[in-house]
């Protein structure tokens, strides 16, 4: 069995950034396994701008952002395989892939970086009643047809879900001559970035119908319309508000699900909320030497933060391979409570250096204090004017704060305005 120091599963933005970072940390024996026919992952079909503001300090399109990393992968001669689908992963880091070129191959990896990304929630998973005609697509599938293939999946469109891809596609379809009737969102707020609501809906007068959902799909061969309805506070449709909208296409942008099938193969512990692996501050999972980063770990709003996380995972994997990954000190579990849905990482070390803790909130809150406590003591506080589920939050915890944690867990919570401090 061939040995490879670091095998990276997925050649999207996370996989490439992890590879470059591992290379810069001194590892040369790296292999990226990418199932598609190109590197860059889903960025290749994201031809709109808005990428790279945080990471590169300039505004790039998806393919441009991907190229920044691909160029570096090429320049550094980091090996990669295209059309290579990983079919099995074990906890002791045996990676099996198949490709047209190589057939089935199993590698013995010194470390593995999971960078498989995520997929969109489908119509079936949403249990929308009605028929099953042509014309129902996830927003990402529609994006591929329009931006990569040059074909229009429809011309009269309703979008369910106000995730970022849905918002982007509302604008894209409009620019291509289609009529977008409405974007319906089950929740009373959008799951997408505010800037996308402004630039993709408001600028084109596309109505955002908050607290609305699709209750029935009509049509025989092709979608002919949808019935939408307002939902009550329990998210149940209100019968009297049913409204028929004629359309030939329903696009779905109802959430992204990390693709952790291989992670499960390896028996790695998953976080029920993120859908990704439980990881430590190095992005190491419950399986030693297997790291995770990008949307397979938790769904990000911005690729910039994917790159940042992947660089950390890449450097950590390199340290692991060299036997230098410092997991000294006590293990501290991070518990999200009081309006904080999850944190990444879910655990850290008292002697592990500075840690940037990412988290998402459960609702929109104004004027809150993010508080980290170790049971007895508040160890960190930060005020935020507004937090929303659609925007990932982060706090930086300094090494000396972590050193002084009492006990074996900390909580991250939101103190709302007027609540007792």
């Amino acid at each position: 069995m061939k040995h490879v120091d670091i095998v990276i599963i997925g050649g999207g933005p996370a996989g490439m950034a992890a590879a470059v970072s591992a290379y810069k940390a001194g590892i040369r024996d790296i292999l990226i396994l990418e199932r598609d026919q190109h590197l860059g992952g889903i960025l290749q079909q994201c031809i709109h701008n808005g990428f790279g503001l945080h990471h590169f300090g300039e505004e790039l399109t998806g393919p441009e952002y991907a190229w920044r990393y691909e160029e570096e992968v090429q320049k550094l001669n980091i090996p990669y395989k295209l059309g290579a689908m990983v079919t099995d992963l074990t906890a002791d880091r045996k990676v099996t892939y198949i490709s047209e070129e190589d057939g089935e191959v199993t590698l013995d990896a010194g470390a593995v970086i999971l960078a498989m990304g995520c997929r969109e929630r489908s119509r079936g998973a949403l249990n929308i009643p009605g028929v099953r005609p042509a014309g129902i697509y996830t927003a990402g599938t529609a994006q591929r047809f329009v931006n990569i293939k040059g074909y229009m999946p429809g011309k009269n469109i309703v979008i369910l879900g106000s995730g970022d891809i849905g918002l982007i596609m509302a604008r894209r379809m409009t620019l291509e001559g289609a009529k977008v009737q409405a974007v319906c969102e089950l929740m009373p707020y959008s799951g997408g970035l505010n800037r996308n609501i402004v630039q993709c809906l408001n600028d084109f007068n596309i109505p955002l119908r908050l607290s609305h959902t699709v209750v029935q799909i009509h049509g025989k061969d092709r979608v002919t319309g949808v019935t939408i309805a307002k939902v009550d506070e329990n998210r149940q449709p209100i019968e009297s508000t049913r409204e028929f909208i004629e359309c030939d296409t329903l696009l779905l942008s109802c959430g992204l699900l990390p693709e952790n099938e291989l992670t499960k193969c390896a028996g790695i512990t998953l976080d029920r909320v993120t859908g990704g692996a439980v990881c430590d501050s190095y992005r190491q999972t419950s399986a030693k030497g297997i790291f995770s980063c990008g949307n397979v770990l938790h769904v990000h709003d911005l690729v910039d933060f994917v790159s940042e996380e992947a660089e950390l995972a890449g450097a950590s994997a390199a340290a692991y391979v060299r036997g230098e990954l410092s997991t000294n000190g006590r293990v501290i579990a991070v518990n999200p409570t009081g309006g904080v849905r999850y944190t990444v990482p879910q655990m850290l070390y008292t002697e592990g250096g500075d840690v940037k803790l990412f988290f998402r909130v459960a609702d929109i809150y104004n004027n809150v204090t993010v508080r980290v406590s170790d049971g007895n003591n508040i160890i960190f506080e930060k005020k935020r004017k507004k937090v929303a589920p659609g925007e990932m939050e982060s706090i930086a915890l300094k090494a000396d704060i972590l050193k002084n944690i009492n006990g074996d867990n900390i909580t991250v919570t939101l103190i709302k305005e007027g609540e007792k401090a």
């Binding site: 199932r35 059309g83 689908m85 079919t87 198949i98 490709s99 047209e100 070129e101 190589d102 057939g103 089935e104 997929r119 969109e120 489908s122 119509r123 079936g124 998973a125 249990n127 009643p129 009605g130 028929v131 099953r132 005609p133 042509a134 697509y137 996830t138 990402g140 599938t141 591929r144 047809f145 329009v146 990569i148 293939k149 040059g150 074909y151 229009m152 999946p153 429809g154 011309k155 009269n156 291509e176 001559g177 289609a178 009529k179 209750v215 029935q216 025989k220 061969d221 092709r222 030939d248 099938e261 499960k264």
Partner: protein, 464 residues
């Protein structure tokens, strides 16, 4: 001019056509849709019933037990997944146990082998996830599961391998009979045959009436289902039924041969023979019906829901009859139609012999399918990531009888697009392969024939 035309390429029509090609007969199968298995054959429970449900002495009882006994061999010959997983009818009340004892008696009379009534402890030992409220069950070890649409695809395909002709997009609009010849016509084409077999499913009453033999009616009985991710397929190993009612066997919980978990069906008589809508009420009923039987069903893992229409005849039994001169009705084939299909085919062939059809053995008959093989490396090129389906398998589906012509046809034959992402990733790639292999534009690729085109035009050429 054919010896026989079979109307309807469902599992019944397919099995009959295949059986007929064992003899020196020219057979034509005609189908309204673009593909085979487009009616009840693609949307049912996929259960091979042991045969304890149907009333003793009925055709249903006879053909179910026979068909069930034949199924393992037929599936093996045709390369279709079949599993003898056994079934349980679980009881929660004293009345249920009485009914279960009744089913046991009936099953024994019908000739079902190895039936046993189990105690609560025995049930829980077999299936730990069955609700603690269970007090007993009927165990039928001969029950099984099979892939219903692949059984149809394979039987039609094998009939074609043995000389039968399949005509799809052929909706019968008239049937004339003059001078011993049937003329079966669509708006654009006529097929002539000496014999007609009407296996038109929910439309079998209409076809019979069209030929002047309208002696029965078929009511569509809607059954909604929910299919769960393969990671839930091990929740139960047997097919779990509740005690049946007048409207059928109730909502079952079963693994499928492909490893998913299936919940359903509901049971509602409707009028519209094409109404395959799912409903909120249906989904609610499935959830309620399945969760009382089995604990821990992860409803978050639903990957799709669908509706099938059972063809319920007005006699309470299968209607298999020589209706007129050289015309055979095979109507009202509701459950246990799938289980019975191989036996129905033999029964119909015997009926044809009695009607005077000459049956000379076809020495060249081959019971296995001719499978197209693409270049070996194509089987390592993965197109559908959720189900790990290769381009090679997709090419096989397109070029093996009856070749897939649309996205859903590929899905049923290969499972590409049938996994947890429901084709979100692979569908554009499958569309490309279909267009390339069939020599058409991407714009002509459909989801399931008719006007179900995936795309409406090229960019820059479409205006709302």
């Amino acid at each position: 001019m054919y010896d026989i035309v079979v109307i309807g390429a469902g599992v019944v029509g397919g099995m009959i056509a295949r059986e007929l090609t064992r003899y020196q007969l020219s057979v034509c199968i005609i189908e309204k849709q673009r593909d085979v298995a487009m009616g009840a054959s693609k949307a049912n429970s996929g259960i091979v019933h042991a045969g304890f449900d149907a009333k003793e002495g009925s055709l249903k009882a006879l053909l179910n037990v026979r068909g069930s006994e034949m199924m393992a061999d037929v599936a093996k010959e045709l390369g279709v997944h079949y599993k003898n997983n056994g079934s349980l009818v679980v009881g929660f009340t004293d009345e249920d146990i009485q009914a279960i004892n009744g089913l046991y008696e009936r099953g024994v009379k019908n000739g079902v082998k190895n039936l046993r009534v189990l105690s609560k402890e025995e049930v829980k030992a077999l299936e730990p996830n069955i609700s603690d409220n269970v007090i007993g069950a009927l165990h039928a070890p001969t029950g099984g599961i099979v892939c219903p649409y692949m059984l149809t695809v394979a039987s039609v395909g094998n009939a074609m391998d043995n000389g039968a002709v399949l005509k799809t997009d052929f909706e019968v609009t008239s049937i004339e009979y003059t001078n011993g010849v049937y003329k079966v016509s669509s708006p654009t084409e006529t097929v002539e045959a000496a014999y007609v077999i009407n296996a038109a499913g929910v439309y079998s009453d209409k076809i019979a009436a069209m030929a002047g033999y309208g002696s029965f009616t078929v009511t569509p009985r809607k059954g909604e289902y929910m299919l769960l991710d393969r990671e839930c397929g091990n929740l139960v190993s047997h097919t779990i039924f509740k005690v049946p009612t007048k409207m059928g066997k109730g909502i079952l919980v079963s693994p499928t041969v492909d490893g998913n978990l299936l919940l359903g069906p509901t049971s509602v008589n409707i009028e519209d023979k094409d109404n395959v809508e799912t409903t909120k009420e249906g989904i609610d009923a499935i959830v309620a019906g399945s969760t009382v039987c089995v604990d821990g069903i992860p409803l978050r893992s639903v990957i799709t829901s669908f509706t099938g229409l059972r063809a319920v005849g007005d006699t309470g039994d299968f209607i298999i009859e020589a209706a007129g001169d050289h015309f055979v009705n095979v109507g009202g084939i509701e459950s246990p139609g799938l289980s019975s299909a191989p036996a129905i085919a033999v029964y119909v062939t015997d009926l044809l012999a009695k009607m005077g059809m000459e049956l000379k053995k076809n020495e060249n008959f081959c019971p296995t399918r001719k499978i197209f093989r693409a270049a070996e490396s194509k089987y390592h090129k993965v197109i559908c990531r959720c189900e790990t389906i290769s381009e090679g398998e997709i090419l096989t589906a397109i070029h093996t009888n009856p070749g897939a012509k649309d996205i859903d046809g590929i899905k049923r034959r290969t499972r590409s697009g049938m996994g947890r992402c429901q084709g979100g990733f692979c569908m554009p790639y499958v569309a490309d392969i279909l267009a390339r292999e069939l020599g058409t534009s991407l714009l002509d690729v459909t989801k399931f024939g008719g006007k179900s085109n995936l795309l409406v035009g090229k960019v820059k050429e479409v205006q709302a």
